[in-house]
């Protein structure tokens, strides 16, 4: 296998590769051996602890599925609310009027620089103190509030960079045929930008999904991670087994979302009707991060 960085390999390089492979395998195997050996010693791999997940459905239907439902509910609510809010903020940042542009920029930059967890903790206290939200829903509201505030500002950046990524001729052409500013945005720029942003938006879903776990660990939101806690009281403290299964579920969900996002991206790139402006899914994954890729 050759790439830009290395040629097709000659005999010496091949030998060296084999050495590397063997050493790497040995180290990796030793590590696994140690992990599994110790886990067995400490009795964490006993079948009793893992059995609930593999035999019967009661562990899934009593604990995991309701938890997963809450996770998805929070994530979907957050996206559905954050998307229009983010679009408005993103477009506002592109406004010609300073009094629209500057406040929007302040809001976006402010919420992007504060940790989601801090927003969630604040939200929980806020709802408890000043509103009539019942204790059943308060953690959900707090989690969604935190996620919406943060992700709306990230999505605002995605929208903004999606519009900026369009070829200039699009706006110029639209203005030349006499469309007004609002019409240019509504009829020409946004429809194209939305398709360009789709991969970015889908990968932002991964970030949102992961962040819901904060609600389970630090607030009292009964989502997937927290369901492993409730479950461990019944199945004899199988916390390690529980968290492992939960982690596997997160990986499966997020990996399929991420794969979907890059498939979308490839698809859009190839599409003939597109202007060729596509935000890469990767750009936004760094936005996990708090700043959309194109700064």
């Amino acid at each position: 296998m050759s790439s830009v960085l290395h040629d097709a390999q000659g005999p010496r390089a091949k030998r060296r590769n084999i050495v590397f492979t063997v050493v790497f395998l040995a180290v990796f195997a030793a590590l696994l051996w140690w992990v599994f050996g110790t886990l067995t010693d400490k009795g964490q791999l006993r079948w009793v602890l893992w059995k609930p997940f593999f035999t019967g459905t009661e562990a899934w239907s009593t604990y995991i599925w309701p938890g997963l439902q809450n996770t998805l509910e929070a994530a979907v609510l957050a996206v559905v609310i954050a998307l229009p809010l983010g679009a408005v903020l993103g477009i506002a940042r592109l406004s010609d009027h300073r009094w629209v542009r500057v406040p929007a920029a302040i809001v976006v930059e402010f919420f992007r620089s504060i940790p989601v967890l801090v927003l969630m903790i604040f939200g929980l206290a806020l709802f408890a103190e000043y509103t009539g939200v019942s204790s059943d829903d308060r953690p959900l509201y707090a989690v969604v509030t935190g996620l919406v505030l943060y992700n709306a500002s990230v999505l605002a950046e995605i929208v903004r960079s999606g519009i900026l990524a369009l070829p200039k001729g699009q706006a110029e052409g639209a203005m030349a045929i006499g469309l007004r500013k609002g019409q240019v945005m509504r009829l020409i720029l946004l429809p194209q930008a939305v398709t360009a942003m789709l991969p970015g938006i889908v990968s932002q879903l991964v970030v949102i999904l992961k962040d819901t776990a904060l609600g389970g660990a630090v607030l009292t939101f009964p989502e997937l991670l927290a369901s492993a806690n409730t479950m461990s009281g019944y199945y004899g403290a199988n916390v390690i087994a529980g968290y492992t299964v939960v982690a596997a579920i997160y990986i499966a969900l997020n990996f399929s979302l991420a794969t979907f996002a890059s498939w979308l991206e490839r698809r859009l790139r190839r599409g003939k009707k597109s202007t060729g402006a596509v935000l890469r899914a990767d750009d936004v994954e760094t936005a996990d991060a708090g700043a959309a890729g194109k700064v």
Binding site: K42, R46, E58, V76, D136, V194, G236, K273
Partner: protein, 281 residues
């Protein structure tokens, strides 16, 4: 046309996700909204969901001493088991839940304290528990409460028992907080943690689980008195009715049965049934 297909596909996926969760959310709302009023013959009771022996969510419903007491009381108030709606009441949420009327009463390892009495009313007590420590069966490092100063303790984030130890009993002890008590057990088993501290009634529930038989022991220190009461809204007329029910529960021996069912396997030496209003400080 490709673009449109892609957009349609993603819209479909999104719609699917929304409906899927909407259904899930819907169920929850239905069961959540009818609590509070007695008119439609439902009663909402707050319990713990993750404390074996007291209040634990299981595949067959809810089980534990608190659950049995609450069921008995509800029956005396005129509700069948089917009319009870169980709600999870985390320690930090209990006063607010009562004040706002999210639940009719709470039986969730709810100790009667003067601070809480300012906010809510208590019926009972129905059980006298003590803060204690759970130790490895083969560990004799911790013989008296004073030894806890040199120990590594584990408890639940923000629990009063943890703060109690830190402030009064063993200020020098190290404390590891986790989201749930079960998370403390692997460490306790392996020696990374010396003692798990909370009420002995809760500890007994863990110690009695089949796979921990003989591995753990209770310290038996009786560090504090925890008078478990049933919390009701301040000024609620439920208090006297619940007190009456609790008295009956003791006289008709249901109390003993509930203790035996839930604490028996744990070998937990419970205190005799407390008299109503007799709060040990």
């Amino acid at each position: 046309m490709k673009l449109r297909k892609v957009s349609a596909a993603s819209a479909a996926v999104l719609a699917l996700a929304v409906t899927a969760t909407a259904c899930g959310g819907g169920d929850k709302k239905d069961s959540g909204s009818s609590g509070g009023s007695g008119g439609d013959k439902k009663i909402a009771i707050g319990i713990k969901f993750d404390q074996p022996g007291l209040g634990q969510k299981t595949p067959d419903g809810y089980a534990g001493f608190d659950v049995d007491v609450a069921t008995y009381v509800a029956k005396k108030l005129g509700y069948t088991e089917d009319q009870i709606e169980w709600k999870e009441s985390k320690s930090a949420d209990r006063e607010t839940m009562l004040q706002r009327g999210d639940v009719d009463f709470i039986a969730a390892t709810y100790s009667i304290t003067p601070e809480r009495q300012q906010k809510v009313d208590f019926a009972g007590p129905y059980l006298l528990a003590h803060q204690d420590v759970l130790l490895r069966a083969d560990d004799d490092k911790v013989k008296s409460p004073g030894d806890l100063n040199a120990a590594k303790l584990c408890s639940v984030t923000g629990s009063t028992s943890a703060q109690n130890v830190k402030k009064k009993l063993a200020p020098k002890a190290q404390l590891q907080p986790y989201p749930t008590y079960s998370a403390c057990l692997p460490g306790l088993q392996n020696g990374a943690i010396d003692a798990l501290t909370t009420d002995d009634s809760i500890l007994a529930g863990y110690a009695s689980q089949a796979q921990f038989k003989g591995k753990f022991k209770l310290g038996g220190f009786k560090l504090t008195n925890e008078n478990y009461g049933i919390g009701v809204k301040k000024g609620s007329d439920l208090k006297t009715k619940i007190n009456k029910a609790l008295e009956e529960m003791v006289t008709d021996k249901s109390w003993d049965k509930a203790v035996k069912d839930n604490f028996g396997p744990a070998g937990y030496k419970n205190e005799p049934a407390p008299k109503i209003g007799d709060i040990k400080s």
